[in-house]
Point group: C2
Chain length 486, copies 2
């Protein structure tokens, strides 16, 4: 293929995507396919000789798209928003086309420097502590990671390395313990498994918030048993109900116990672009590392996860080895602040989005999504059969009043219909439906449609009296369902 052919191919792709996104409302959000459907459609082996690109678009529409979950459909209310914007799409295209990867500054100066600058722009936009700036006098700084999972893993391993350095004890590694809340994302538990650190999933209060006294109690118990507290991973906006741990209380304890405090703000971190949400982040000046994903709510297409360290000394100690080079003076060694050796030119994508959206554009996006969520809350409240359980920053849980049975049946009906995608959630021993405003294409009529669909199905629920009276009857299978869907 030459560049003339690439021009045609690329422009057809742009048109395909424009059409796909223009018509996304007309596609059923959840696919109607059986496990293994695609295995049967596609050939067993790669073609021997190359095919023309035009053939691929036909098969994409015929075989692949029918099996897609349409994550950017306004009827997608599951998980948490996954960013998308035209600026992000074109940014990703430009990254791929310019290509190349980056290790040290020498390998790609503009890539390293744009990343340093973009991370500083984010610090200022979110009003994060100045010691996170790459241009700060101290040892703080940040760079782009692939995911919050990797950011948490890196924070845990850095915390471990720091303690191992401080201690003379050879067997310390066996005794390290980390803490997070029972509401934290599964990636935190997975990171602890990967870092070979015991993790405690501590109980939260009725608001889903991890409080200082709970942490303190657990630390004391562990110390009595001979464990060595190493790291606390607090969540700023949990995946379940978007609850917020009390960072100020946790930070105080971490400081007095010399424990690393990492904040996972994967989704809700973006809200800090709006001054009205910054009160949620009290204590952030005391945390050791902070991570949020512009690829969730900040319109930067995946992947783009931002991680800062208050002091990068320990992560550099963790990852420095004989064969890895260093940057010129005054250029931070961001290649040492990550798990892989190389990085894509993700700063370019971030630059595209931040410039095309602007700070006000991103604020408007957050406020619009929260506004739509609040509108949904009003709709739920207007139907007296329902109750709203929680509503935080675009993440809502609600249920039919009374025992769990009817809500479970309603969720089954919703999932069978495939017209909207919502998730189950259990909190305070109640079964709920979890509804999130995810797509950036969502408008008020979309919320009306989703709610009307839920109400219609609720009108037609038939459930046996037994099930109504004995709400635990279906609990086992629903637990499986929750696990399977998460």
């Amino acid at each position: 293929m030459d560049t003339d052919e690439f021009r045609k191919f690329g422009k057809i792709a742009i048109d395909y995507l424009a059409n796909y996104l223009d018509t996304i409302r007309q596609r059923t959000v959840l696919p109607d396919v059986e496990p293994g459907y695609l295995q049967k459609c596609l050939p067993e082996s790669a073609p021997q000789t190359g095919e023309h690109w035009s053939e691929i678009f036909a098969e994409l529409e015929k075989f692949v798209v029918p099996g897609l979950t349409h994550w950017h459909s306004p009827s997608f209310h599951a998980y948490i928003p996954t960013a998308n914007s035209f600026a992000g799409i074109v940014g990703e295209l430009m990254m791929a086309g310019i290509g190349g990867i980056t290790t040290t500054w020498d390998s790609n100066p503009a890539s390293v420097e744009l990343e340093l600058k973009m991370m500083d722009w984010l610090v200022k936009m979110l009003n994060l502590p100045e010691h996170f700036l790459n241009t700060s006098d101290g040892m703080g700084g940040g760079c782009i990671q692939n995911s919050a999972s990797e950011s948490t893993l890196l924070a845990l391993q850095t915390a471990k390395r720091r303690l191992m350095d401080l201690s003379k004890e050879d067997t310390l590694g066996q005794k390290l313990v980390a803490y997070t809340s029972d509401q934290s994302n599964s990636s935190v538990e997975k990171a602890a498994l990967l870092a070979s650190i015991v993790i405690r999933l501590l109980p939260t209060d009725t608001n889903g918030c991890l409080r200082g006294e709970v942490l303190k109690k657990s630390i004391n118990e562990d110390k009595e048993k001979g464990f060595v507290p190493c790291c606390v991973i607090a969540t700023f906006g949990t995946t379940g109900i978007c609850s917020f741990d009390n960072v100020e209380e946790l930070a105080e304890i971490c400081r007095s116990e010399s424990i690393w405090l990492h904040i996972d703000a994967a989704y809700a971190g973006t809200a800090l672009v709006c001054p009205e949400y910054r009160y949620l982040m009290r204590g952030i000046d005391k945390v050791d590392s902070f991570n949020f994903n512009p690829h969730k709510w900040m319109r930067v297409n995946s992947d783009c996860s931002a991680l800062w360290f208050k002091d990068t000394t320990y992560v550099e100690k963790l990852t420095s080895c004989e064969k890895v080079g260093s940057n010129p003076d005054d250029i931070p060694n961001i290649h040492l602040w990550q798990i892989p050796n190389c990085r894509r030119f993700r700063a370019l994508k971030l630059w595209f989005v931040l410039r095309i959206q602007g700070v006000e554009g991103l604020r408007a996006h957050v406020r619009k999504q929260v506004g739509l969520a609040n509108y949904f809350v009003e709709l739920v409240k207007s139907d007296e059969r329902f109750e709203v359980c929680t509503s935080n920053l675009g993440v809502i849980t609600f249920r039919l009043k009374g025992p769990d049975g009817p809500t479970k049946l309603l969720l089954d009906k919703i999932r069978e219909g495939r017209k909207i995608f919502v998730m189950p959630y259990c909190h305070l021993n109640k079964f709920m439906i979890r509804f999130v405003v995810c797509s950036s294409f969502t408008e008020k009529p979309d919320i009306d449609n989703s709610w009307r669909h839920i109400e219609d199905l609720a009108n037609n629920i038939e459930y046996s009296k037994e099930e109504y009276i004995n709400p635990v009857l279906r609990t086992a299978s629903m637990k499986d369902e929750i696990r399977r869907r998460n």
Copy 2:
């Protein structure tokens, strides 16, 4: 921005990239910028209000591109090839536009199934053992990772988990030791640091190959000291001189000692698409995990790293936790075979490349690059001042005959000129220049140009007699140089 505007924006980006790649030969491969140059050009903060996309292209060309290393320039002969193809670029664009991410099958059925299928296509294309097929009867299988770094880390941690499971000893973690060669990539050492496992960088033979007897000796020494051998990371195509460890010998020892054997074939794995290179891979049926990067030599733009396990039981044990769901029967849990929780739809990009290139197209690409490298070898040999030190699969080292001084001066001149990008290398106590055919745009006249440039500079080298006689004089600074450039 609406979709009409996106169509314009996206198509301008396609044209920009077509022009960039069409004119890449006219750009000096290495940028002429000082550290910190971009920090001074760009504003201190993100813009308050959004800007029009057309403004970005102007600043991209004005500020960013002058600081880029042009990785796809035919004058780029450093590191190792980083894949690029029009199919890969458009594939990346389509991934971004369709968007969404994937965890379990439920979250995105087509994404999971296309990945399973593409990994099986790769197994067949490379003639890898059938037990790696996702459709095999056993527990083997593979999925796409972000990087070889992460693949190595995951293999190491899986090996660790396996031994911890087999042992009853609590303090085992402190005694684990892994082995790799002194020629392996720095990411292996970094992975060991991250996995808290001691690593031995074992000496290789004169061909840069790790042999069984060296491994055996080191294992015995470690066992006597009370260490527990856990994992061997063998390299199939080292970064330095593209040497190949003796997998058959290493596999025999690993089997008898019950040690995990991982293969890092990041670059050279792609060569297995050509039957004539498969002899290099004797013993592969006995390895526990195998990784290569289609994003290096297989024309799939970064990132796309393929990792297979002979038995996925241990990696699933490593990463499974309470909150993570599982797939329907018959669909492997590939979300448990990776560090992060979520994955991008990279299978789509791989599908685009494999279909548009076809197996024969990829074979032709490998053969063309190797052919161009061999042509360069002939050019070097035709000048009697020079000697070729090594030449393996597109990776060449050469030097001026005699002591190191002149070669060091020549490299300095080449780097100062910025017209071609080559790296230093030290092997068997000799200083060499490392030359790789990286860009897929490279043609014979490009090789001629690069060689003519080197010869011209060699003609003009002035070096003091002292330096010629005492080749170690500049060694210290060149070691720093090698470290800095790697």
